[in-house]
Symmetry: C2
Subunit: 365 residues, 2 copies
DNA sequence: GTGAAAGCGCTAACAG
DNA sequence: CTGTTAGCGCTTTCAC
């Protein structure tokens, strides 16, 4: 059994003179990477490594004199702490894994951006992972994440497999799920109800007297849930005969403007007298608007259009797009706070937060 | 929190009994993080830790029998290697830092996406950093990056300060700069010439008989360089009298559709007879198109519009947008390859690659 | 093919 | 406030 303890005779006591023992290389052992280490800084400052460490991490715990000497040594040597080593020793990696289906497309940008910024300000780095819209790569991704021992994981609209969820939970890493209100959160949750959105949009259109509604939506699960709730509520409100299903055009995520154009074209073919369309993204909505325009269909007079996401451009379209706004920044900030607090040992009271949504009523509906 | 560490008594020593010396905890020293370690796996498999390590990292270097036993032990314990520890010992972090001005906005999505995917496939994780469009936060970001000892850094359109560049170079980390062809690359470079784009677009419009051109562009440096080269070439081609400066509307990055609308409005006020506009992003171009439309200006008949970026939606606009295409995927792949090769000890022959660009001629110009 | 020893660079724990 | 000691969990080196 390897007892890899170092006999003290190999370590000349650091306090008294040690002649050429200052050389960090003993015997013919290991090649050092060549960088400046804390040891070098400490030596230059004339203190023990741990003191130099304290000067850098808890300046208030050392004397001003030592603090200054260490800082000078850092300056002189260009020392940059090795966070890998620090993380290993302290069991805090200061790394947070952020997983999104994809960074392509505008949907998750706001969350990724906010997390990166907020966490960076608190001394954390973001490790980005893309899960894709299929579940196949989740396992490999999870392994890569857990292997880094992050101080937290933020999951956005993903991690379906029960196996993966169990593993994450077992790892003991704080997990924040976002972008949905799942019934059985792994750990913490910041999201909103896709069903509520579908219902609310149906009521919105109903109030405005629309009678012939249809949907263009992504095939991903969350989009489906919005769409189905929307359809159900439409039936409940008498906007649609329960017999035939509500006209729906399904597209593959991530959604595109082109899909929106095509969607309207196909829906119109089946049902030329549509007077309202709910799209599962603003990009789809823009496509619908452009297609309508090129066919001489007036928006909102003849056709009402509602999007989802409230992208930056939506307010500047002609007509301005009515859409559903999700506060991605707010979600990102709360998720970051959850993890930061947890790392600081603060137990969060509210582990599930519904950030809600709002329908931004503009001109298109 | 479940302390799911397996005490050695739960793992019968497979080789020979070694009393309580097998206990990894000596004295009242350090608390272990609670995870399964390689040591646990090795013990369960009845081999030395180093052998278990080899079974996982270089399976071909151990006997099939050992390989199987180790794999079973991994399975049974749910062991996930601690990459922090591995990185510290091997001096390879398998981490690549990717720095972009911001992930908000469509410009850098393709690069971030491709890098994340390509590097993940090769066993690397992406650490995301946002530098903003000002240079102020570069230092802190750099410190955070170098501290992780990444195996590579990909810089996209940033790192202006000479100080920061020097520090990166001194750190010895392979660096790939992208999105530009700087005269003095830090290390490796995959980019294109913003000046060449400006000139080429000017010629394109000249060939199509445009005479009164203007520009809507971001204030960031790269955009400026495109715009200035464009203006210069316009003068050279006689499209603009050298006396007055070319009409330019400057906007703050990241660019938006709204800025495009406003840009056209203001340019038109000063120069009502414009017949062509070069925008520094497709989003700006879309704004220009929408504004033109709402004013009854026909595109391309009365006004030609050229964008930059060839966003996914541009081909589906009405009229379809003529724009400049940059192969973000190609850039990402090359950048990833540079770093992977370098980590493998392969010296790359071509350290500077010009990926060029192409003008996608569609209907708007 | 396998293993013992010796750290990678840092911090927690416990003294003084 | 400062230092000593003992590792964090892994891999490199060198020996068998």
């Amino acid at each position: 059994m390897s007892e890899n303890r170092l006999s003290s005779s190999e370590f000349p006591a650091a306090s008294h003179q040690d002649g050429d023992a200052a050389s960090p290389r003993r015997r013919g052992s290991r090649k050092s990477a060549g960088g400046v280490t804390l040891r070098d800084v400490a030596q230059l400052a004339g203190v023990a490594p741990i003191t130099a460490s304290r000067a850098l991490n808890t300046p208030s715990a050392v004397s001003p004199k030592v603090l200054q000497k260490v800082r000078e040594a850092v300056e002189k040597t260009g020392y940059v702490p090795n966070l890998l080593a620090g993380g290993l020793a302290s069991n805090k990696s200061r790394l947070v894994a952020v997983v999104v289906p994809t960074v392509i497309g505008p949907v998750f940008q706001e969350i990724v951006h906010t997390l990166t910024e907020t966490l960076a300000a608190a001394g954390y780095q973001v490790m980005l992972g893309q899960s894709g819209y299929e579940n196949s790569r989740e396992d490999a991704l999870l392994e890569a994440i857990i292997g880094r021992r992050p101080d937290g994981v933020v999951l956005t609209g993903i991690m379906r497999s029960a196996e993966a969820r169990k593993r994450l939970l077992a790892s003991g890493i704080p997990v924040v799920e976002t972008w949905d209100l799942t019934p059985t959160p792994i750990d913490m949750l910041v999201g909103f109800s896709h069903e509520a959105i579908g219902r609310e949009v149906a009521r919105y259109l109903h109030q405005r007297g629309r009678k012939k509604v249809a949907v263009v939506g992504g095939r991903d699960e969350r989009s489906q849930r919005r769409m189905n709730a929307f359809a159900q509520e439409c039936v409940a409100l008498g906007m649609h005969e329960g017999r035939a299903p509500l006209p729906m055009h399904h597209v593959t995520a991530p959604t595109t403007l082109g899909q929106g154009r095509q969607g309207l074209a196909e829906l119109l073919q089946a049902q030329p007298d549509l007077d309202a369309i709910f799209c599962s993204s603003d990009l789809l909505a823009l496509g619908v608007m452009i297609e309508a325009q090129s066919r001489g269909i007036a928006i909102p007079e003849q056709l009402a259009v509602v999007g989802f996401g409230d992208l930056e451009f939506s307010r500047d379209l002609q007509p301005r797009l009515t859409t559903v706004r999700i506060d991605g920044t707010g979600i990102g900030q709360r998720a970051a706070r959850f993890i930061i607090d947890r790392a600081a040992g603060i137990e969060v009271a509210e582990r599930v937060v519904d950030v809600g949504f709002s329908i931004i009523a503009r001109d298109s509906a």
